[in-house]
Amino acid sequence: MAVQPAMPRSWRRETKPHKFCPGCGHGIALRVLGQAIDQLNIQDRMVFGCDIGCSLLAWDFFNVDTVQTHHGRTTPVIVGLKRARPELVCVAYMGDGGGYAIGAQHLVSAAMRNDRITVILINNTQYAMTGGQMAPTTLPGQKTETSPYGRDPDMTGHPTQGPEMVATITPESAYVARGTISRPKQLHKMVTRALENQIAGRGFSFVEILATCPTNWRTNAKNTWKFIEETMPTHFKVGELKVPEAFQAAAGGEGARADG
């Protein structure tokens, strides 16, 4: 993390520096995605869809055709697009509220249908853009604007296990992983695979990314890092959950670990 590598070719220089807060996880996630786009050489045959929430700030982030949609509706827009133009590489980028709450039926249905799209979901444990409300991913006891005394799992449930759910309902040709911005190298491998799996026409590809939101967590650099490195992984297990055989064969059977 110390040395920032050069800006990916697919990034749009005119819109940098980007609009995310300092220390925000979106920037790292989008850097990883940008590098994967460069590496796979798909910039000119890709569509990037972004949701509402802080993810919408990415609407002019890339030199890539981009559609900013409604809250939770990026998945169906991208599904409709991909089915119309299967030769395009279509990515739906959203937050945990968009994917697991208001757009949950779309995520579940696209996964069940094994739609050949890539969904990248940022998990920062709360609704960031609207000012830090409780999300499906809020940790037990975590204080947010709508759980000021801490999330009570008895009343509001436990944090959504998104990749686990997607892995359960998708066929073997799907790719499912949970990465974290604190391990960009591992994350890069996951995002690349999630794109490759779509390009190969295999199946639904899903990466949840644990990401920082110091603004709403109200944490300094040290505690931000502690939360993402130590606290979040105790509730959200980082790693690949579903890896199509093609990757495992290519990696000599090591695919399932992806410990970067």
Partner: protein, 362 residues
Amino acid sequence: MSEKPITGEKRVFMTGNEVVAWAAVAAQAEIMYGYPITPQNEIMHYWTRLAPKFNKTFLQTEDELSAGFTTIGGVLAGKKTFTATAGPGTVLMQEPLAMAEMMRLPVVVVVMQRGGPSTATVIYSQQEVTLTTFGGNGEGFRIVYSTATHQDLFDYTIKAFNIAWKYRMPTFVLGDGYQAKMREPLTMYDPEERGVELVKPEPYVGLPGMPGEERPPGHYRNTYNTEEELNEVVNDHVKAYEQIQNELPEHDEFGTENADLVVVAHGVVARATKQAVEALRAEGLNIGYFRPITLRPMPDQALRAMADRTKKILVVESAQGQLARLLKESLYGKTVEIVPLFRPGVGVTPEEVMARSRELVA
């Protein structure tokens, strides 16, 4: 695989839903995304049967939100894409349609009205007029054709694709459960053989060239940061819609010259009123008939001219004044008396229209 679906003029006898599916094929629509709801289901049934023959795409989505948003995806991809819905489905459809309005996306939606409010009946009504013309958190920048016959359904479904892609506005074919389910004769044809040009769709994304290097990237959004930014966008819509208001209004009328009464109705109810007015005129009564075909934009000029030539207007609809509200707005400032004949959620017979008309000119 995909030979011409219709060659020459073809006289057929079929349900309205079947007509819509054939018309969409004839209009060279490529994709339908939809969710089951009565009374529009058979549009999907026929589309899915025609699909493999003519190389068409279909997806049954998880709900109408998804049907609307996948339709947007299809349009962004540059394909003529449509969906069909009714009742509570039309309610859910407003969210994607608001996005289509904001981004001026040429989605085509066929609405087969059922009873309302709520789940109500699966049968029939004209209670989705307000929602279809002005639904969504916006300004109602949409184009709405209200059909009365199966021939209309065929003609205006083809037209809807052309108008949507020409003006880049969400466009509706507003039918109802009666039209959807009943059988009736009509003539199907290949529009191009008749000299009707089919407007070609264009992709918004996935164009040739490296975005940001050989061409600008397509960056499409519906979120704006400042009031001024938004105001500018909406003002552009206003301007575009002014052109539409000049160019697109359609209506049908007869006998409105110095009439004692003009009966105004749209859609299938206009058939009953037409029949009633013809019978009353045969009796020697001085009664006219007016049917707006576009409900958005309303045929304001023709309506206002008609209002100057008649003493009274009887507005007839299978709703509690949804057409009447549009009518009053069109006729703002006119002093002509407007008398309602509202039958929310039920059909209207020519006899009812005749009886009420007689009372009004007695």
